[in-house]
Subunit: 159 residues, 2 copies
């Protein structure tokens, strides 16, 4: 087993795991992404999103997809983990933990002050796992999102 | 009044507004950032964080500090708004709204699918304002954070 940065040939397997995660998150039709735009995002010019994979005998069984955030308070970047997923047939072997450790190691090496991600409130097994690692729920905060028609409207209205 | 991308000479004024926002968020001592590292983050080589300002007669009275996120479901980038703040003496004139519109416009122009930010749960005036723009609270989700000693420990433990 190795945890390593993704390479272009991993893209189809990564996309499959993204789709599996969407099913687990009860949104089976949510993935509009294609292998082409995932490839462009991860391996195009000056990428802004990154992936690490769990490689077991050349099979990709886990992914961490992440990008940089920034803390105006700390004055440093941090890592925001967008997707963390391990194929259910390969759970219980510490792969998820090792993906998190790999990202934490990048934070420590680069002087990033925070590693963050978000979790569905009903996903108790994940929440308990994260708390066991010293992660703290930011319970006071709620993320707001504008997308779709509301974003179009806001972005094209006169100022 | 103009809303425009920040320039290097805006850094001291931006930092003051970051500090004012921390006071409003009941964390007056939270800002460790300095003018030097804010300048480096915004205007160093290949910046990963960006700022727009509200400029009223050459006085900076509002800021939006943001970076790119990425949706694995949509296969596109989006904007994550880290800080939005308007000097209280200059509120009620639509500056906050116009900062949000500016970011929404960037999303529309670049094909980004989402504009996101987070809000303290007790900040009802802000929450009502955001809902009036079509923003939706992602109530099902909680952000987890590892930082400080827990991050060091996670990042230096053996895998």
């Amino acid at each position: 087993m190795s945890i390593r940065p993704a390479t272009p040939s991993d893209v189809p397997a990564i996309l499959e795991l993204i789709k599996d995660l969407a099913v687990y998150e009860k949104a089976p039709d949510a993935v509009k992404s294609t292998a082409e735009n995932l490839h462009e995002a991860l391996f195009g010019a000056d990428p802004k999103v990154f992936a690490h994979v769990v490689d077991v005998d050349s099979k990709i069984v886990g992914i961490a997809i992440w990008f940089l955030n920034y803390s105006t308070w700390m004055g440093t970047h941090g890592i925001y983990l967008e997707d963390l997923y391990v194929n259910p047939a390969f759970r219980g072997q510490g792969y998820g933990m090792n993906l998190l450790k790999t990202l934490a190691q990048i934070c420590v090496e680069r002087g990033y002050s925070r590693l963050q991600w978000w979790v569905l409130d009903w996903n108790e097994p994940a929440i308990n796992f994260y708390k066991s690692l010293g992660a703290v729920p930011m319970d006071e905060w709620t993320v707001f999102r504008v997308d779709g028609e509301a974003l179009q409207k806001l972005g094209t209205s006169t100022k």
